[in-house]
Symmetry: C2
Subunit: 374 residues, 2 copies
């Protein structure tokens, strides 16, 4: 006799679990169901204690660590959730030591290769790969004069780039956050699929998107956070390299810079200091308005609002309301409003996480490159 499902108090727990799209191909775990509960598994017969550790204080998996339970044959497992949709970094703590889940692909975050889980939101498909033309992401190696080292940029070229050999494209420079790398916007952020879909819908202009590593130190520089030379790298090495190696449009109206968190600060810093080179700037969950002074902040660029408004086609600032940086971002918006500096302010539900930044890119990219080229 089959137990009637309708009477089962835990009916929801019967929902089918599917492997996360962020897994290593062919691995069943971690898995997710439609109620966004996640099951983690790991074979660790010799461990005394195994836990799931969501990384960071703003993680859609919850606070953790979550204890896993050992079966007789040494398989540890636990079910958590419902969790937030989106991409979440996690580690498995093996007797307290952070380790990767062998079932997960690795994603560079928290200054190391970390496990990650992508929890679907069935109401959002804008970042999913669809049956539309796909752009390529080129791993482009070059030598930096500023750092003296070989570096690589991840460069999205839009569908048609290879075939339309006379066409030239505007360029968005797009930066990751602290502890991440040039791989983040494609692996975690799915920027390529977001652009593919927007371009297929006619909602965004075909554009090149350049994703570099926000850390750069001058030759022989050993102290500091390691990102001190990044503005010089962008202006002296990266932009000339991209304009040489790819079919770009090179006027200021066809160049924009944006980033998330630390990268949002870098976009503001680099973009606002170089308005002869950039006309579009985006800060996604960036640092906000600490000590903002209209006369002096960002080199005093906001002291002449009319001049600023004449030059900058798009200054876009967004933040999730559950983000610890929200108050600062909202204060920056208010200060810019008071200064008469034209900008787009975008607030939405959301944490300091990749689901918000995917959404930010999806909102931001359609607003770029709408004017005529210079």
């Amino acid at each position: 006799m089959r137990f009637p499902l309708i009477l089962c108090a835990c009916a929801a727990s019967l929902a089918a679990q599917s492997p996360a799209s962020s897994n290593v191909r062919g691995n069943a775990f971690p898995s997710v169901d439609s109620a966004r509960r996640v099951i983690f598994h790991i074979k660790a017969p010799t461990a005394q204690k195994v836990q799931v550790m969501p990384v960071g204080g703003s993680n859609g998996l919850g606070k953790g660590p979550f204890d896993m339970t050992r079966s007789e044959d040494g398989l540890w497992s636990t079910t958590i959730g419902p969790v937030q949709p989106g991409f979440h970094y996690y580690w498995l703590l093996i007797d307290g030591v952070p380790a990767n889940d062998p079932g997960s692909e690795t994603y560079f975050g928290w200054a190391r290769q970390s496990s990650g889980i992508d929890v679907p939101d069935p109401t959002l498909t804008f970042y999913e790969p669809k049956d539309v033309p796909h752009g390529d992401v080129s791993i482009h190696w070059y030598r930096s004069q500023v750092t003296g080292k070989m570096r690589r940029a991840y460069v999205y070229t839009p569908p048609g780039y290879g075939a339309n050999t006379q066409a030239r494209y505007p360029v968005l420079y797009l930066q990751h956050g602290a502890g991440e790398s040039e791989r983040g916007w494609t692996a975690q952020g799915r920027a390529n699929f977001i652009l593919d879909n927007l371009i297929a819908e006619g909602a965004a202009k075909p554009m090149i998107v350049v994703m570099e590593n926000g850390y750069a130190s001058r030759r022989d520089e050993t102290s500091g956070r390691g990102n001190e030379a990044f503005p010089d790298l962008v202006m002296q090495d990266l932009i000339p390299e991209i304009d040489k190696a790819f079919r770009t449009r090179t006027g200021r109206l066809d160049r924009a810079i944006a980033g998330l968190s630390m990268g949002g600060g870098q976009a503001m810093q680099i973009g606002l200091a170089n308005l002869d080179r950039f006309a579009g700037i985006g800060s996604f969950s960036g640092a906000g308005a600490r000590n903002f002074d209209r006369q002096t902040s960002f080199g005093g660029v906001f002291k002449d609002a009319a001049g600023f408004n004449g030059k900058v086609k798009l200054l876009w600032i967004g933040c999730g309301r559950e983000d610890g940086l929200f108050a600062g971002s909202a204060a920056l918006h208010k200060a810019l409003e008071e200064a008469g500096a034209r900008h787009v302010w975008y607030e939405s539900p959301g944490l300091h996480d990749w689901q918000v930044w995917r959404n930010h890119l999806h909102e931001f990219a359609p607003l770029l490159f709408q004017g005529k080229s210079e």
Copy 2:
């Protein structure tokens, strides 16, 4: 008073340690010295036992596991070696559980993301990034009809590909080994730098190199090793996709296929069954001559040696002498020789590892695409 270095019995141990090039940027460990001794470090104050585990039976780090020693503040370390030059997979065993070293980048091998260390050989620079023009490696997404899924190929385009918009190029399909992925030939194998350097020297023809994942299952296929559909994928999906998306030469004289280990077997299987599409085939440390029968093996392609020799411009078979597959490879060479089938046999020192396969690619690529196009 400083102890005079000249009197130190362990003078060699004073050689300077440098961070491995395979590390996460900015991480000092693992480190290597000029005597090829490697120091591993990990902070793991709560672990009872930590070991370095070279993965696989044919690993240039040695047999392992190697116990690490705990300092008072919970830092574990050990020095091993001298080790073999080249790229070696390893895990850290945390109380017996395989985990990644946070100081290392991750490299897909052994069906999971693993740590790896690249130990330099100062006498070999052919795989190092040099100040020569660099090709790009494009991550190319496409939908496979055979599998019903989105897949990605890593596609090397040679220096000048972007600028010479009328030029078309021959194509090498290049496969990884069991448990690896489409990322292996660039991340572990440095195929892009090997080609850059060969092309810069004029030693190899500029070519496109396509690296796909050797695992593919037909829609709804769930059993088997997971690579059953790979030949169909190559012939029905991948080649048409690459010929559409990239500026390829499409005649058989301009198409070759090669691979390492499992990928060598796949190259033999696919290439020899499709001599109307391929004129170059390479097997690097492949499976060898088990049950080789001139009349029936590989669809009987060797039974008419003159016909075979008229069609195949290059059949290349290589193996390291310390490889467990060496005897089989040497037997295949002998059987082909007896059959009168023209081929290149390449034996060298070396294990079943990436240092051998880097060398194989470096030997093989210059021999490709030397005839006229059809």
